[in-house]
């Protein structure tokens, strides 16, 4: 994954009215950043910041978008539910610690290690978070495009 791949992916989430402009600006900055001594990753980070902070017309403000906030809130809920379920699961069964190995036993006698479960669970929650975040950005900008088009249709 390089900086150009990142900015191209980010540009695809920008509202259509600004998409080509943003992409060309970021690509030009990537092409010329070394002459200013700026690492390409800073351009990618800048593109991320700009994409997350951009809120197009009609509000014209900047800050985290409402849709991004909803996505983050949803991820927080999911993480809380998963953590709570794991806590109840662990404390509702027999938890044993042996050295660096933490395991618990089901009433039926089956035993599983806790740490791999947490790692897999964390990876799943992380993937869901990334997916929700990216999808939310796309949905939000699609809605913004539709609003923009409708506004112009009314103006016309």
């Amino acid at each position: 994954m390089n900086a150009e791949w990142i900015v191209r992916r980010l540009a695809s989430t920008v509202p259509a009215a600004h998409r080509e402009e943003r992409l060309e600006e970021w690509l030009a900055d990537l092409a010329g950043c070394e002459e200013l001594g700026i690492p390409p990753r800073h351009i990618a980070i800048g593109a991320v910041a700009s994409t997350l902070a951009y809120r197009p017309a009609p509000t014209n403000g900047y800050g985290m978008t409402e849709h991004t906030r909803h996505a983050l809130r949803l991820v927080l809920y999911v993480a809380t539910i998963v953590a709570s379920a794991l806590w109840v699961w662990v404390h509702g069964t027999h938890l044993s610690v042996s050295g660096s190995n933490v395991s618990f036993a089901f009433p039926g006698g089956a035993v599983i290690d806790v740490i791999p479960v947490f790692m897999v669970g964390g990876a799943v929650v992380g993937a869901l978070a990334a997916g929700f975040g990216y999808r939310s950005l796309r949905l939000f900008h699609a809605a913004a495009d539709a609003t923009h088009a409708a506004t112009h249709a009314v103006d016309a």
């Binding site: 600004h18 402009e21 060309e24 600006e25 690509l27 030009a28 900055d29 092409a31 010329g32 950043c33 200013l36 001594g37 700026i38 800073h42 351009i43 980070i45 800048g46 593109a47 991320v48 910041a49 700009s50 902070a53 951009y54 014209n60 403000g61 900047y62």
Partner: protein
């Protein structure tokens, strides 16, 4: 980007002031990435500021006209006429408040 007239800056921050200062002191449009370099700020803080200032009508972005360079065009920025007037007034207010020890930083520029 369409001109929607001049809107007040809702959040006047130090990076925004730095950008306005560089643009005000420059006689020609400045490449967006060079603004990051000149202000000592990361592109991550400069890009949103430029977009916000452009949407507010304080600055105008144009594509650099350089036939010798191949590839994507660089985006340059300059203050609009009204933007220059407001930027000068805003910076004067900012600097005046900055020298007052007990003063609070201005959060909104209504100049």
């Amino acid at each position: 980007m369409q001109n929607k007239g001049m809107d007040p800056i809702q959040r006047l921050t130090q990076p925004t002031v730095a950008v306005l200062r560089v643009l005000l002191e420059s006689d020609e449009p400045v490449w967006g990435l060079r603004l990051a370099k000149l202000t000592g700020r990361a592109p991550g803080s400069i890009y949103p500021i430029l977009a916000r200032l452009e949407d507010s009508g304080w600055i105008v972005g144009e594509w650099e006209d350089d036939d010798e360079r191949v590839g994507p065009r660089r985006r340059t920025y300059a203050l609009t006429a009204d933007g220059a007037d407001r930027a000068a007034a805003t910076l004067a207010t900012w600097d005046a408040k900055a020298v007052r020890p007990a003063s609070r930083s201005p959060r909104t520029a209504q100049a």
